[in-house]
């Protein structure tokens, strides 16, 4: 049967159930399929494993064959011989179908339909949603074709459209629907007084062009995309995806056609020469949760991540419940488990782990808590810093290259002096003559046989030891200090403190040349030790040689610690230690003496050295080492070898030694470069980022997972599309990009219908297909199938122009009609599926709050940016979790309190409570549809939540300051602000009289008045009397809670 005929026969009354079917041709898709699908296919449908009695009813040829029992289910034209009819009519509880235990008993009307269908030949049709829509002209000619379809159906039941709504209603309706904000009184009055025939069209154009349009469009898409600012699951740490949200708002505002909108979000990373923006768009499929729980199994959650993408993509673009097939073939739709995993294979080849990764983790929100792959999105400042770092790195690299070129020359010059100096000295360390060793604090220092000195006697606080040495004449380059444990010392350790530790804070060397007057001081340039207690590193002693002030050295600014210590109190640490102190080389004349002062000026008064020995050296600084032989034998050999005869290895060894041990340009360049690169890495990683899709070079294999379990892979499956749907468009690659193009090729039967239906639902309250979230076999039959198809084809014809389609919908006669309900409406079409009137709709969670902010003047208009922290009751995040970094909620103090609601920070396990109360999902999974419930907890929020009370007070200020001098004019002013209309006489009288009574009450209760007007972060206008302002605030609170205020009219 051709599809057009299919629709043609479908144009029958929705109230068909009350008609007699005997006289009518039964139509499979509309009448029969819903019954079979709901009550039979579960056991006699696509899923082979569930199939009972060998009977398959969803395929005609199968149903005509005899079943295992021998009986034939369907004998076309002969209900009496058809087992299906016998069984549904059976009175035998063992025989009757569907079985009683399913609780799916057929009604008499349903049985009659099936009987007539068999009698009429038991013809089948393909499921309508899997057949490409065919455009047929509207049955009636109307200015807007939509109305032709609607009017035709209305006339069948004897209804006519309602008259056009009042202008005030109309502009409030369309402004709320297209921007999520109410019209201003000026916009209302401009429209009311505009008598031009195109006045309404111009309003629509203005709204579609306004930047707040994109914000409003983004909200429902965030539900589909399961957008949030947290990773979900146990710890629910933060992540940073707001750049993607900003992309989304921008895409709506610049009216990115829906095909491109689709391709960029699903596969923008795979477009040739993709822009950063197109890659950012792929965050759509990174918005899913990421598990960071301690015991998580990575393979398990990787599989869940990919399955989530199949589910989300399926629901968002096709309104199909693919997820049913993760465990088994679909019970209702002709989609197999294998086909599910074939779709899975388009989404599993990203460069990712599928779990909370290296940037995230509990508590730390480094890099925004995101998980690779990400795209970095620096601020201007960061971008400038990154650019300058990259420039500096280039410069440093080139300087280093130059220095390296000069290396042979530098080495040659250095080598001469070095070998000369080496030649003079036979050993690294020599024992100088010790002329005197004394304690300045009064301890005794007694000489030991090995040349060391042992401290004894009293242990004065912060003692200093002064040792006078006479080294050999010639070069002096450094001092070695050896410290030994001794049985006489506390704990038989190395120092004199109770535990056996010491803290040496200074080594001062005075040089007394014979005949010279004042001694000169040696300049320490480096210090090393073979062991350092943490925080007490020896290098600090050589850091410029500041003298102790008042007997104490200044502690390290960072650590508060000073000097060199060796954990002498620890049993395993009581072993000999060495430190060396290198100074700028000095030539010592014959007879020169050195006075070495070992200073203990830490806060630990008794931490003086116990037993020590000093040695001196004449070797060049670069040859001095703690380990003993500073110069390896091979280096010595290389140095001794004639420069021209050295091997490349020998040359390299000398160069390496030179670079490491002298102050030179190569070393300086290397240090600089290391620092710059570290800085670059840190700056890169601290930038803002957003998670994106990134296709791995090689596709990962995909397998059927038995019962959907990650650890039970079966047959490997290639990428392929479900057989019931079209094939890939020509030229498209068989990958994620090809899949995206397939969805919007115009050949796909679902994509355009699904978008059109969801948009219809948003504007008209109910979709043409009521089951917005499911277009499969279990979908409800469309109220206006031809209209749905006409709109779907129109969307493709208009090149997927979302603004143009919405303009078409809101300029229809149907959209513009009144929402007054008549008894006739209730009698003939209680659910309003035929649209003889406009439905009134409770505003969404976002729009309710945005409206209160807007009409009170609190709203801060600013598009995009990071999420904000408006008021939240105390401890909402903390009452059920002490995990993760999203705790201790701190409300913003400035504009963050008054931004549009879509910017409110979203923690999935504890979503904004005032949002959840108004049916918003938790954003843990893709959600297509929000309810519009009506509960007492909503009333409490709207009456008492800080935002709404503060908005009421701001509105009251406006009434007093701008609303004229009388209560009546002020009430009128407020009605205009909130509802865009004047109050009628009844309303004015009611509101004004209550207001008068409250003025008296608050006039007599200054305390209460002050309390009420103090609510919220904004300050009340000081010039307004508090009693008056409080009374008006209560009135404004009532107006903000009117059913009319809370409803899209």
């Amino acid at each position: 049967m051709p599809p057009s005929f299919l629709w043609f026969t479908a144009i029958v009354s929705l109230c068909a159930a009350s008609h007699s079917f005997a006289a009518e041709r039964v139509q499979f898709n509309k009448d029969v399929r819903p019954i079979l699908s709901d009550t039979c296919f579960h056991c006699h449908g696509p899923d082979e494993k569930e199939r009972k009695g060998g009977l398959r009813l969803d395929v005609r040829a199968e149903a005509l064959k005899p079943a295992k029992s021998g009986a034939t289910a369907l004998v076309p034209g002969n209900p009496e011989k058809s087992e299906i009819i016998t069984r549904i009519l059976s009175k035998d509880s063992e025989e009757v179908m569907p079985p009683n235990k399913l609780h799916k008993n057929l009604t008499a009307a349903q049985k009659e339909i099936l009987r007539n269908w068999v009698a009429q030949g038991a013809e089948y049709e393909g499921h309508w949603a899997f057949i490409k829509p065919v455009r047929i002209d509207p049955p009636l000619r109307t200015p807007n074709p939509i109305d032709g379809f609607l009017r035709a159906k209305l006339s069948e039941v004897g209804l006519t459209p309602s008259p056009e709504a009042s202008r005030e209603t109309l502009i409030r309706r369309v402004t709320l629907d297209l921007t999520g904000l109410p019209p201003t009184p000026a916009e209302v009055s401009a429209f009311v007084s505009d008598t031009q025939p195109d006045a309404y069209g111009r309003v629509v154009d203005r709204l579609l062009a306004s930047p707040v349009y994109g914000e409003h469009m983004a909200s429902p898409w965030l539900d589909l995309a399961r957008y949030a600012d947290s990773n979900g699951f146990q710890s629910d740490t933060s992540r940073e995806m707001w750049h993607w949200r900003e992309w989304l708002i921008g895409a709506f505002n610049r009216n990115l056609p829906f095909d491109q909108f689709t391709i960029e979000q699903l596969a923008g990373d795979m477009l040739p020469n993709s822009t950063k923006d197109q890659v950012l768009a792929t965050g759509f499929n990174r918005n899913h949760r990421l598990n960071g729980e301690g015991g998580r199994i990575v393979e398990e959650w990787f599989a869940e991540t990919v399955i989530d993408r199949v589910e989300t993509t399926g629901l968002t673009w096709m309104a199909l419940t693919f997820n049913c097939c993760r465990c088994h073939d679909h019970k209702y739709d002709p989609i197999t488990q294998k086909e599910f995993y074939q779709l899975f294979s388009y989404f599993n080849s990203g460069e990712e782990t599928g779990v909370l990764g290296e940037f995230g983790g509990s508590g730390s929100s480094k890099k925004g808590g995101n998980t690779q792959p990400v795209v970095f999105l620096p601020t201007e400042e960061e971008a400038a810093k990154l650019a300058s770092l990259e420039r500096d790195i280039k410069a440093a690299e080139s300087q280093l290259a130059t220095a390296r070129k000069e290396l042979p020359t530098l080495v040659a010059a250095w080598e001469k002096d070095f070998t000369a100096a080496l030649g003079d000295a036979s050993a690294m360390w020599t024992d100088p003559a010790v002329l005197e060793a004394r304690s300045l604090g009064g301890a005794t220092l007694s000489a030991q046989p090995d040349g060391s000195y042992l401290a004894g006697g009293k242990n004065p606080a912060n003692d200093s030891y002064e040792i006078t040495l006479r080294p050999k004449s010639g070069q002096f380059t450094g001092l070695q200090l050896e410290v030994f444990p001794d049985a006489s010392l506390p704990s038989k350790s190395l120092g004199r403190s109770g535990g056996g530790n010491f803290v040496l804070t200074g080594v001062e060397i005075d040089i007394h040349a014979p005949g010279a007057g004042e001694p000169s001081a040696a300049l320490l340039i480096r210090a090393e030790a073979d062991y350092e207690q943490k925080g007490y590193e020896v290098a600090k002693i050589a850091d410029g040689q500041t003298k102790p002030v008042n007997g104490k050295r200044a502690p390290d600014k960072k650590t508060g610690k000073v000097g060199w210590a060796i954990d002498g109190a620890e049993p395993a640490k009581k072993v000999p230690r060495k430190a060396l102190f290198i100074c700028a080389p000095i030539q010592l004349a014959e007879g020169t003496t050195l006075t070495v002062r070992l200073v203990h000026a830490s806060n630990f008064g008794d931490h003086n050295l116990g037993r020590f020995r000093l040695r001196t050296s004449a070797l060049p600084a670069e040859a001095l080492s703690l380990k003993g032989a500073a110069l390896s034998e091979s280096l010595k050999t290389a140095l001794q070898c004639d420069a021209s005869k050295r091997s490349p290895m020998q040359r390299a060894e000398i160069e390496k030694f030179y670079i490491a041990n002298t102050s030179n340009l190569v070393r300086q360049g290397e240090t600089l470069l290391t620092d710059l690169r570290k800085n670059l890495k840190e700056t890169t990683e601290s930038q803002h980022s957003s998670m994106v899709m990134k296709e791995a070079a090689k596709p990962k294999p995909a397998f059927i997972l038995v019962r959907g379990e990650y650890d039970k892979p079966a047959e490997e499956v290639p990428r392929a599309l479900p057989a019931i749907l079209p094939i890939l468009p020509e030229g498209a690659s068989n990958d994620r990009l090809g899949l995206a193009k397939w969805l919007v090729s115009g050949e796909h039967p679902l994509t355009a219908r699904v978008w059109v239906n969801r948009t219809w639902e948003r504007l008209f309250g109910t979709g043409i297909v009521k089951t917005t979230e499911n277009f499969g076999s279990q979908a409800e039959w469309p109220s206006h199938p031809e209209l749905l198809d006409w709109l779907a084809t129109e969307f493709v014809r208009l090149k997927w122009d979302m603004k143009a389609m919405q303009r078409l919908l809101v300029t229809s006669e149907a959209y513009r009609q009144s929402s007054i309900i008549s008894p006739e409406h209730m009698a003939k079409d209680p659910e309003n599926r035929l649209l003889a009137r406009m439905p009134r709709l409770r505003l969404s969670a976002e729009t309710l709050r945005d409206q209160a902010l807007a009409v009170s003047g609190l709203l801060v208009s600013k598009i995009g940016g990071p999420s904000v922290h408006p008021y939240m009751p105390e401890a909402v995040w903390d009452e059920t979790s002490v995990y993760g970094n999203l705790r201790n909620y701190q409300a913003d103090t400035g504009e963050g309190l008054y931004r549009r609601t879509l910017y409110t920070i979203w923690k999935r396990t504890s979503a904004p409570p005032s949002m959840l109360l108004f049916d918003s999902p938790s954003r843990e999974i893709c959600t297509v549809k929000r309810g519009r419930s009506n509960t007492p907890t909503q009333a409490l929020a709207l009456l008492n939540e800080v935002t709404y009370v503060e908005a009421a007070r701001k509105l009251a200020e406006g009434m007093l300051l701008e609303g004229g001098a009388s209560a009546d004019t002020r009430v009128e002013w407020a009605f205009q602000k909130v509802l865009g209309r004047k109050p009628d006489a009844f309303e004015l009288e009611k509101v004004a009289s209550r207001l008068k009574a409250r003025l008296e009450q608050f006039g007599a209760n200054e305390t209460a008045a002050r309390q009420m007007i103090a609510i919220g972060n904004s300050k009340p206008v000081a010039t307004l009397p508090s009693g008056e302002l409080a009374a008006y605030t209560v009135t404004a609170n009532v107006l903000l809670n009117l059913d009319e205020t809370l409803s899209r009219p």
């Binding site: 199994i297 929402s819 002490v882 396990t909 009117l1042």
Partner: protein
Amino acid sequence: MNCNDAQFFALNAAARRAVTRRTFLHQSGGGIGLAALGGLLSGGSGPHARAAMLPGFPNYAPKAKRIIYLFQSGAPSQMDLFDPKPEMSAQRGKDLPESIRKGQRLTTMTSGQKSFPIAPSIFKFAQYGQSGAWFSEVMPHMSGIADEWCIVRSMHTEAINHDPAITFMQTGSQLAGRPSIGAWTAYGLGSENSDLPSYVVLTSFGTGRKGDQPLYDRLWSAGFLPAKYQGVKFRNKGEPVLYLNNPAGMDRALRRDSLDELGELNQHQHSHLGDPEIQNRIAQYELAFRMQASVPELTDFSNESGSVLASYGPEVRTPGTYAANCLLARRLAERDVRFIQLFHMGWDHHGGLPPAVRGQCSDTDQPTAALIKDLKQRGLLDDTLIVWGGEFGRTIYSQGAITETSYGRDHHPRCFTMLLAGAGLKKGLTYGATDEFCYNITENPVHVHDLNATIMHLMGVDHTRLTYRYQGRDFRLTDVHGNLVTGILA
């Protein structure tokens, strides 16, 4: 509502509310009113009360009018509390035999361990009551009412980590998005109380391991059911119900006055538009007003006798503790709130288990026993179902090293113990059994779906018939699974 406005407004406020309600309820026949009212409102104990239920529900006479579900979040250790394994002391430190573990998957917290050393419980067990039920020494109060309990030692589940496991217990699915058991109940059975929600959630932190396990809104959410069926969480900090209190400076009389004004204006609007949803709105605001009185009265313990307060232990005086929540649960039960669920955190003991278990038991043992005795004394235990337990069990082998005084245990889905009491259950029964390693079930396994099916049964609901159509499919709490555990039914 076709009520004449002039007549309507001539009535005093109380009568007006009554008229609004009545008219409203009558309209529910049209499929708009009551469906929209949902779990939060019904006609009190009058003839309208049942109207809030789904047609045909309850499916048969319920044994339990209400449930108090004491969820122990984090998973209490069954072999340290209820399921003694004295044979294990001889196996101390020995590796768990592969013949027992049978290649079962482990969490990544212990899957890398080189060995799985058996850690016998450090606690002493004894038999109590006429039934001779076994309890560990750390539960002196719960063991004191041993003959009230129906102890199921053979629970098992499919999930191995907390988030999916607790989601599975609560919704019948490991993945987010399904309605919770309390929301299902509210949807199917409506409310018996006109001033309070039908599903109330109370949470408390444990002292055994502070902060574990975190809870999620999803655990009491309505999933794809309408939002009105979601659990109303009474808060453990701040005002007991979100946004309950009027703004500072507004007393109850002024709120009444402002709601009267609001009602009049809405009524006026209704006379123009004829939209029944406006009547519903008026009713919801009136219910909100009643909640503003009923909730503070509910949470005010000043009329409780000293002996009752003392029976719950000293913490009962600190709001937000498990003890205070137990007493609050009794008060909610008295007011016919249908599904009362406590979540006590702190049971996840991967290390340092003995002191942590002691801490948790000091939080929960006395108040739990006091609650049951209190209900019994008031005649409420006969039609109240009590459930006590967590999301899975713990391993006999130690996570980390065993010392003289300490060990830890990882997650274990293959067996765990839950306690039930009250309506429709066998008393003093120990049901099901596990092997000597407390690792596998040897007798009468009870799956999570079976437990939920049985809970629904006791509430008068055939779990296979409580369905909700979403995405074109009839969903149910137990998916396509779940068998009644007839062995525990009285």
